[in-house]
Amino acid sequence: MTNGGPAKAGHYVAGGHYGRYVGVAIILAMVIAAAAAPILAPNDPDQRFADLLYAPPTRVHVWDDGLRLPFIYRQQLVSRIERSFADDTHRRITFPGDPKHGAPVLLLGADSYGRDIFSRLLYGARVSLALALISALGAVILGAFIGGVAGYAGGRVDALLSRSTEFLLVLPMMYVVLVLRAVLPVVLGATAVFVLLTAIFVLLGWPIVARGTRALVAVEREREYVAAARAVGMSPARVLVRHLLPSTASYLGAQFSLLVPAFLLAEATLSYVGFGFPSDTATWGTMLEDAANILLVGDAPWLLAPAGAIFLAVLAINLVVQGSGRPPVQLAG
């Protein structure tokens, strides 16, 4: 922070200011990978390779008596019970693999149905990231609007808002999400779940944003430029949208960056416990279901790949937040 005054020590950040660029780069790469999933995914995310349940990652070779184009060997099942596999080194298969004949490239191994984890991660990113981003955006917009109105209008609206946010702030989010989700029909289609979870997340996210916005707007409306704007005949709505809300932009940005990881995790948790997306829909949360059997994961660590993806996303956001001078403290999760 540069405006802390000369007497205050600066806040030191992990990884210096490069952390911020690393964070932005990771986020951009993830968003692009999600958008380009159909191009980047080596396999159909729903295709099941019956002989490759829990298969380890396919090794990609470039050397076989001389440098060659990237190629793989077909993985063959040795023992179904021990889940052991061996490479069929008789034939080289060039890189994109041959999924039609049971020789796919499995960059991160296969899951309990023999599906390609890497491809599912890419497609899952679309659902998980979109849900978190849309919900966070919705919560910030709704919160900014309601908080702005309350802060500008004051009086009863203001009192009611403050009381209700007090409740929501102390409630353990996960329980509230769980109850709200659980009282709805358990079996729903993927699209219905997406809409439903967005609605629940926005509903729980906006009051926190509104509370802060209200406080900022209540201070800002006493400033002279607001009085000037009113004096020249600007309508209250215009004053709010043109002058008061823009002054809260950096606060709203910070809230957004706190809500995205919170929602990303909420989806993962809900899907993990079976209250989220249907298990055949690829999301980072549903993919984690395979990681529930911990003794199995000990032998097949690639099943934790979705956990790694979530970690990377949260870390990237935290790096950006911290790089901009705010401690990445998350106490809303």
């Binding site: 020590a9 806040h11 329980y175 009282v183 995790l265 993990y272 660590p301 870390l315 106490l331």
Partner: protein
């Protein structure tokens, strides 16, 4: 101060009643009821008998009123799943959750504050840098990921026991410890710039004492304010940890109850859960009174 605490107490009672009532009403109004657990071969008479036993055939308002009248005497009705009174079930589960949360909070406080004092009082250096990087990683590994990671390590190396309190407590504590470390470091840095700390240093007080006796106590105020909120985080996190590590707490019980639409068990869990939360918040308030003399006087 008495008025402040009385207001908080009323807030907690309202919270508990609201949370329990809301979950009772929501479960009642949700599609399907606990008779779905009877299976496809249940006769109409069985279904009707079960509905009558759990007062599901009565109007919602009457059922709620009845439940509330009993609940104030700590009679939370019967559980369908366990075929037993709800009260002892939820109290035992709440005890387990409280144990887990308390262990995690103590661990997180000791680790977070200790490391935060180190990183907050040093500008650079290998140690402070390593702690900052570690806490950055831990803050990005919320309880869901942390418990999966620890389970994996335990299954792979056998360092941690797969059962017992240790693993879930560490999984819950580490992300919170990281948050505490960041907050403590920031709070300490804020105080180090203050005139009274500079004055102490100028008087020739040893650097260690400047930090520990002057700056640190003053930095505690902003940290205690966070404790009240940390209780909610702790409970949210404990749900996930309990689920992943099979710790028999409130989260797991409530999950099973919700799945089975076991209406009184859901309401009972919500009631004691809100009770736990209330106790945590009140302790947080008392702590604030204890640390900050200004709250005591107002």
């Amino acid at each position: 101060m008495i008025r402040f605490l009385a207001r908080r107490l009323i807030f907690c009672i309202v919270l508990t009643v609201l949370a329990a009532s809301a979950s009772l009403l929501l479960t009642r109004l949700a599609p399907g009821d606990l008779t779905v657990n009877l299976g496809p071969f249940a006769t109409a008479r069985d279904v009707a008998a079960a509905r009558a036993r759990f007062a599901l055939d009565r109007p919602v308002a009457l059922q709620w009123g009845d439940w509330l009248a009993h609940a104030v005497r700590f009679d939370f009705g019967e559980s369908f799943l366990y075929n037993r009174p709800v009260a002892p079930l939820v109290i035992r589960a709440a005890g387990n959750t409280a144990l887990l949360a308390l262990a995690a909070l103590i661990l997180a406080t000791a680790l977070g504050l200790g490391l935060g004092i180190i990183t907050g009082s040093r500008r650079g250096g290998v140690l402070a840098g390593a702690i900052r990087a570690g806490s950055m990683a831990a803050v990005s590994l919320p309880p869901l990921l942390m418990s999966l990671a620890l389970l994996f390590i335990a299954a792979r190396t056998g360092w941690l026991s797969l059962s017992g309190l240790t693993l879930p407590a560490i999984a819950l504590a580490l992300p919170i410890a990281a948050s505490f470390e960041r907050l403590q470091a920031a709070a300490l840095q804020d105080q180090i710039g203050e005139p009274f700390v500079v004055a102490a240093a100028a008087r020739g007080v040893a650097p260690r004492d400047v930090i520990l006796r002057h700056a640190w106590p003053a930095s505690l105020r902003s940290l205690t304010a966070i404790y009240g909120l940390a209780i909610g985080t702790l409970l949210s996190g404990s749900f996930v940890v309990e689920f992943v590590t099979a710790w028999p707490g409130l989260g797991r019980l409530m999950y099973d109850a919700l799945r089975a639409r076991d209406i009184y068990l859901v309401a009972g869990c919500a009631a004691v859960g809100a009770g736990l939360l209330s106790i945590g918040m009140l302790i947080g308030d008392l702590l604030l009174v204890f640390v900050d003399p200004r709250v005591r006087e107002s």
